[in-house]
Amino acid sequence: MSLSDREWDDLKSILDKTVQKFLGFSEPSLVTAALNCINKGYDKRKTSEKLLSILDDKQAPKFADKLFNVYDEYKASSKSHRSKKRKEDKEDKDEGKKKRRFDEAVEIPGPGKPSPGQLTADKIKEMMATAQKMIQERKAQIQAAMPKLPTVSQISQNPQVHMNDAMDKAQRAAELQAQIQARMAGLSGNLQLMKPGIPGSIAQKIGQSMPTPLILDDEGHMIDKATGQAVQLQHHTPTLKANIRAKRRAEFKGLIEKPPEEITEGTFYDPRVSIRPANRQKRGFRFHDKGKFELLAQRLRTKAQLDRLQNEIAQAAKKTGIASATKLATITPKKELKEGEVPDIEWWDAFICNTDSYEAIGIGSDLRERLEGITHLVEHPAQMRPLAEPTKQVAIPVYLTKKERKKLRRQNRGEAQKEVQEKIRLGLMPPPDPKVRMANLMRVLGTEAVQDPTKVEAHVRAQMAKRQKAHEEANAARKLTTEQRKEKKARKIKEDTSLGVHVSVYRVRDLTNPAKKFKIESNCNQLYMSGLVVLFKDCNVVVVEGGPKQQRKFRRLMLHRIKWSEEKQKQTKDDGKESYCKG
């Protein structure tokens, strides 16, 4: 028994599946071998024998059984199919159409389309059968891709359900086909218009890879490019209750959230109602009057001045201890005097006597009558804190005497030593190596020293070097780093001048020597002092400011360290004159 090409193909696909199911993986060689066996018309035993070359002796008979089962099934199905096919062919001939096998599915009448011609019951049955077969084929194909899906046999058990399914799928396939064709037609048309040189196949390919152009009609419906018909896009309607509810809620929300203006503008716009257009008033220039801002500024200035004055008066009043500025005005001089001018009356007397001149004042009872403002009140003016006094109390550090320091050190070291000794005694600490020097070498390492003096000496020397090293390292560890040392130095030199600075002034007769100038400047910098130098022919002034210690050092520089008279021995005389003041 030999298989036709088609049968061979069909069987191959079925067997593929069977093999996969049997072995758990696809094995083309087994499939081919099985097909060959069937092709040659072997029986079960022969087949199993043949298959032994690929499968082992247990599996081979089993597979042969399966193979023949499948083959039998196939044969049964293919018989009916062939008979149907023949009928179909007849019909096809009737309609005068010749179609490829694949197109059959396309031509299955969908629910939206009216079926061509009258449909007899036979016809319907036939169609159903064809559809069923098609489905089976498709299923087989799908299953080849996805082996986990239920097998054909399982599907065939409930054909009614699957038929509906198939109908659905066929419809969808038809739609898809139509869409693709339409798109391709449109695209190829377009492309051919633009680029006539491009072959159709390429254009098709391009068209397939490109997204569909969206074409809308005047009502906003999407239309097909080629046909101009409205395209019904698929709407996903939720089926779950929860989803439905959610959708409804979203819609409701959207309704609420819509701003009311939109409604008025859009749907509720009534053109009959006339609204006056919001036209702008024409505005002319409005210039400020000349000098307006000057006046304003002047006013501000005078106000500020007045404030300042009042503030000053208040300050003065506060310091002198007079409660209010008005009272102060009564005791301040009424007019400012120039220097050297003698007033008619001293202002403090004017306040008492209430006159403008002493001439008006008589003696005795006349004077007494004139006096005013003399009371028995004792004033307690506001007290002022001294300027140079620090606001915080300065803590005086406590220093121990040298004796006390020594005692403390001795005690501390003694305690530490005692502790170490005790630890050694209790075995909590290994005892230190005996301290060997060159001097006590013989005593400490008596016999060893006699036996190998060179070695012992080397040992002793190593120990000495180690001790020395440890000592030096300890010293180095205690040492300040460069920055720390610098900082310490600067700290020691710098002094707090926030509450009063010492200023000294030196007069130098001759300061032409650049070396001396440099000395002054660099010393000033090193001492962190500030100041200035005024150079003139024979009178040079050096002014420096800093703390008392800095001043002392600088004074020593100016008066002792710099030898002013060293060049012109007799002509120039050191005339360092200084005076201290604070401020």
Binding site: L337, V342, I345, L367, T375, V378, E389, G583
Partner: protein, 516 residues
């Protein structure tokens, strides 16, 4: 087994020793010895076994037993060491009451029987070493407290004085205004009296001032000197508590005034003493560091009266009112007082400085008084209205000396910041600052009557003369070996007297004729 054998051998050796000389072969003996030895060894084996069985002999199986390191006890020992170390580092107060307080805080007995402060302290230390020092809060460090002015100090307030105060004020007003009138009149007339040539002459005379007389005044530093109004006497106060009257110019001791028990700060003459005042009346006043103020006449060497009310505060300086009726004293309780010598009572206790008041000076008219305090400020007081009418602000450190110029409206102040300042009361400002000395200024003094120059004395050992209005240095009076404590000019303008820490006083005079 070995033990037994050796014992046996020892016995045989002993035998051998007896036989000193051995003759013949040892073979026999050896064989014998070996035979017995075997037998003996077998016997001893049995004995040993029996001993082992009985438990009298213990032979270990040869395995060593490790000495178990007692970790726990070691850790304990280390902890003890640690504690002891900590105890050594803990600072325990040496104050017994504080130690007791701490013990009580810890809930321990504050005193055990027979326990002294040292043991108690040690006990506390041990306790703290085990419990940790955190339990006892370290005694609160006296944090640098910001010195804030009290609200009370920021406002001006008044209190009612006595009726006598009012009377005295009226008296002063009636006294001062005619004097002021007279002074103003003179100033208007004498506006251009002192011509340039006369000024130059005076400067020349001043430049030729030299030390005329020098005398050891006491065996303690001298603090103050003042010429008598008739210029015949010089009163010198000393830290020994004695005040001495010296004749001028021959520097003979006239009288020693005994009465102070400690340092005398100042001694001043009554403005009319030796001129129009009776010698028996109260002619001098002196003040001491213990707050005693004493009044003296020119006859006895004992004080005729004491003014009480300052103690225990030091009275730094005092001064007579030009009328001689009132005495102003500066007290270290931040106040200055005005005493009515006629009524013999304190009529005014004036506050205002935030630190001790150090010097006081009265205006020639008697209308004003100026005080300088250690707070670095000067205050000008109107004695009639009782008000502070001017605040002299400018010195950075304490004002140690302050004086009115004879013209009645200039004030000079000398300060610890080495400067002297000249203030104009009419213009209400500081008109000049003299960086006068290299040490603090102990006294500023104007030329009497005319005020043409200013003398300053300083702790740098010199006194300096400064020309009025230009404030240029005219002469430096150097000669004292120590700090110059005070300086004065005789009213007849013949001498300048200065007293010093070196216990001498010196009289300076110009070599040219015409007075200073």
């Amino acid at each position: 087994m070995d033990i037994e054998g050796s014992d046996d051998e020892g016995e045989s050796v002993y035998v051998k020793k007896q036989k000193i000389v051995h003759y013949g072969s040892l073979e026999e003996k050896e064989r014998q010895r070996l035979a017995t030895g075997i037998s003996l060894s077998s016997v001893s084996n049995d004995v040993v076994k029996a001993g082992i069985e009985a438990g009298n002999i213990n032979i270990s199986s040869g395995d060593t037993m490790e000495m178990e390191e007692d970790k726990e006890s070691q850790a304990e020992a280390l902890a003890i060491f640690e504690r002891r170390k900590r105890a050594r580092q803990i600072q325990v107060s040496t104050d017994d009451t504080e130690v007791k307080a701490h013990l009580r805080l810890l809930g321990e007995a504050i005193c055990l029987f027979g326990e002294g402060p040292a043991e108690r302290r040690e006990r506390l230390r041990q306790l703290l070493a085990t419990l940790g020092t955190d339990i006892i809060q370290p005694k609160k460090q006296e944090e640098p407290v910001e010195i804030k002015p009290k609200d009370e100090d920021n406002i001006t307030w008044y209190h009612e004085g006595s009726e006598n105060l009012k009377k005295a004020r009226y008296w002063i007003a009636e006294y001062s205004i005619p004097r002021a009138k007279e002074r103003i009149g003179k100033q208007k007339e004498q506006k251009h009296v002192l011509t340039v040539t006369r000024l130059q002459d005076m400067h020349k005379r001043l430049r030729s001032v030299s030390n005329e007389y020098s005398q050891i005044g006491d065996n303690r530093p001298l603090s103050h000197c003042e010429f008598s109004p008739n210029s015949k006497m010089l009163a010198v106060a000393s830290w020994s508590g004695l005040c001495k009257l010296w004749s001028v110019p021959d520097c003979q001791l006239i009288r020693t005034l005994r009465g102070h028990n400690c340092n005398v700060g100042a001694i001043v003459f009554h403005p009319q003493a030796t001129v129009s005042l009776d010698d028996n009346a109260c002619c001098m006043a002196s003040c001491g560091h213990d707050g005693a103020v004493k009044l003296w006449n020119l006859v006895s060497d004992e004080p005729i009266a004491d003014i009480e009310g300052h103690a225990p505060y030091r009275v730094a300086h005092l001064n007579y009112h030009p009328s001689g009726r009132f005495l102003g004293t500066c007290c270290f309780d931040h106040s200055w007082r005005l005493w009515d010598l006629e009524a013999q009572e304190e009529i005014l206790h004036q506050e205002g400085h935030s630190k001790p008041v150090y010097d006081i000076s009265f205006q020639n008219d008697g209308a004003l008084a100026v005080t300088g305090g250690l707070d670095g400020f000067g205050r000008l007081w109107d004695l009639r209205s009782g008000r502070c009418i001017m605040f002299l602000e400018g010195h950075l450190k304490a004002v140690l000396s302050i004086t009115f110029a004879p013209d009645g409206f200039h004030v000079a102040s000398g300060s610890e910041d080495n400067t002297a300042k000249i203030w104009d009361v009419r213009q209400r400002k500081c008109v000049y600052t003299i960086p006068a000395h290299t040490n603090l200024i102990s006294k500023v003094h104007f030329q009497p009557e005319h005020g043409n120059y200013l003398i300053t004395s300083s702790y740098d050992g010199t006194s300096k003369i400064w020309a009025n209005s230009t404030w240029a240095s005219l002469k430096t009076l150097a000669g004292h070996e120590g700090k110059v404590m005070n300086v004065d000019v005789s009213p007849d303008l013949k001498f300048i007297a200065s007293v010093s820490f070196d216990r001498t006083f010196k009289l300076w005079a110009s070599e040219l004729k015409g007075g200073l």
